[in-house]
């Protein structure tokens, strides 16, 4: 998947992409059978090599009715620090060949320092990808 940036927009905004977040596939399928709806949300996500885990804004967890599976201790430089709820989510990448993540954990923590984004894709997801960043040309490529 190639992300179309100019060197300036890549410098100013960082590498980002549109993703779809929803409850896991099993929950969606089994939920339908009993009349439960799990909404899907399209959000702008920043690929953040400084984040060890993937972070979403808390409102997304609420809107998508994600299932909480625990809490995680997060130390955010210059922002919130403490324990935050962890959820199971599915993440997909519309318009790309990148494989969807059917069940991945995300932590709901207000993204204060990056108000342009509702999700930070952390190194837990990056460990599944080949991520190429060329600041000179503005080319960013993600392969799985």
């Amino acid at each position: 998947m190639k992300l179309p940036f100019t060197p300036t927009t890549l410098f100013e905004q960082g590498p980002h992409l549109e993703i779809l977040i929803c409850a896991t596939r099993i929950e969606v399928i089994e939920g339908r059978a009993v009349g439960l709806e799990f909404p899907e949300m399209s959000v702008r996500a920043l690929v953040d090599t400084g984040a060890s885990l993937t972070i979403i804004n808390p409102q997304i967890a609420m809107n998508c009715k994600l299932k909480q599976t625990g809490r995680q201790k997060i130390n955010a430089v210059g922002g919130e620090a403490g324990e935050f709820p962890e959820y199971a989510a599915a993440i997909s990448f519309p318009g790309s060949q990148l494989p969807s993540l059917d069940t991945t954990r995300v932590v709901a923590c207000p993204i204060i320092r990056q108000p342009f984004f509702s999700c930070l894709i952390g190194r837990d997801i990056l460990r599944k990808w080949l991520f190429t960043y060329d600041g000179r040309s503005g080319e960013v490529e993600i392969g799985a």
Binding site: E27, I74, A88, A108
Partner: protein, 77 residues
């Protein structure tokens, strides 16, 4: 206290109660706990979560937690 903070308190208590014994055999594994029922240990989060759904159903609450001696603190820069 927000609902998210109150959630899974009992399960976290069960985890703390058993943590020392689990460290010997299940270090790094993900345990699944609902109420006071321990559903098993799994190599990764995805397997553990799916096992929890299969065992307890999609409407139940359950904890998925990795067994560590000390809780990791994740950094967000």
């Amino acid at each position: 206290m927000a609902a998210e903070e109150k959630a899974l308190q009992k399960e976290l208590g069960v985890f703390e109660q058993h943590k020392r014994e689990w460290l010997l055999k299940h270090l790094g594994d993900f345990v699944v706990i609902a109420d006071e029922t321990v559903a098993g240990f799994y190599e990764d989060y995805e397997s553990a979560f799916k096992a929890g759904l299969s065992r307890f159903g999609i409407q139940a609450s359950f904890l998925v937690k990795q067994v560590w001696a000390e809780e990791p603190v994740y950094l967000i820069h």
